[in-house]
């Protein structure tokens, strides 16, 4: 599990990969949070294209980042969600907090 960070102007994109569960969430959270603190983006994109599994620990991660971004008024986008990850996101109502995009299934 890892998070690769890309900064373009006021946008920070975190490319997450591997399995996102309670065991792996902490390290990913730290990587994202330090990039946000350092760059103060107006938009944070969490890209799930390379995430093969996610449970409610991933929802906790998204909700926690949303709460942090509220402090500066920055927006949150979730992109590249596979059908299974999209299903968990929808169950949690994430689309009310962030723009939620499906991924290309053939990626």
């Amino acid at each position: 599990m890892s998070a690769e960070i890309n900064v373009t102007g006021e946008v920070v994109t975190a490319y997450l990969s591997g399995e996102l569960d309670h065991h792996t969430a902490k390290q990913m959270r730290e990587t994202i949070d330090s990039a946000v603190e350092l760059n103060m983006p107006s938009l944070l994109v969490l890209d799930f294209s390379r995430v093969s599994f996610m449970d409610s620990s991933g929802i906790g991660l998204v909700m926690g980042r949303y709460r942090n971004l509220q402090k500066t008024g920055a927006a949150l986008h979730i992109s590249g969600t596979s059908p299974n990850i999209y299903k968990v996101m929808k169950l949690a109502g994430i689309e009310r907090l962030a723009k939620l995009e499906r991924g290309n299934e053939n990626d």
């Binding site: 569960d21 309670h22 599994f53 996610m54 449970d55 409610s56 906790g60 299974n84 169950l91």
Partner: protein, 148 residues
Amino acid sequence: MKMIKNSFNMSLMSRSSNESFARATVAAFATQLDPTIEEISDIKTAVSEAVTNCIVHAYDNTLGKIYISAEILDNNTIKIKIRDKGKGIENVEKAMEPLFTTVGGERAGLGFAVMMSFMDSVKVRSALGKGTSIIMTKKISRRYSVNG
């Protein structure tokens, strides 16, 4: 009376690195029912929720044992049991409500909601100071292959 066609059981220590091992093992056992990718993913996610709860809540990140067993029943159903000997749940009904969590912070309080939505049935038995057991079932759709 449903007949048990196959079964396995195992115990493992409540280390967070075992979360992926536990869900992958149950998913591998479930493949004999020829599930779809979505059904396998549902089972993996539900197992991950139950096992993570044992680690985070039951044993409060100390080391204890998690007992996992599964049965294949004759109606193309898998029955999964995940049990701990941890602190137990004070109010099960309340704990199962969406967004209810006793931890907060980085936990969403959606573990039980995921289990209930992704499985056909979820039964919780818990006793304070003794532990908790979760029994979940899911019927796997019968797909017709060329071989019938």
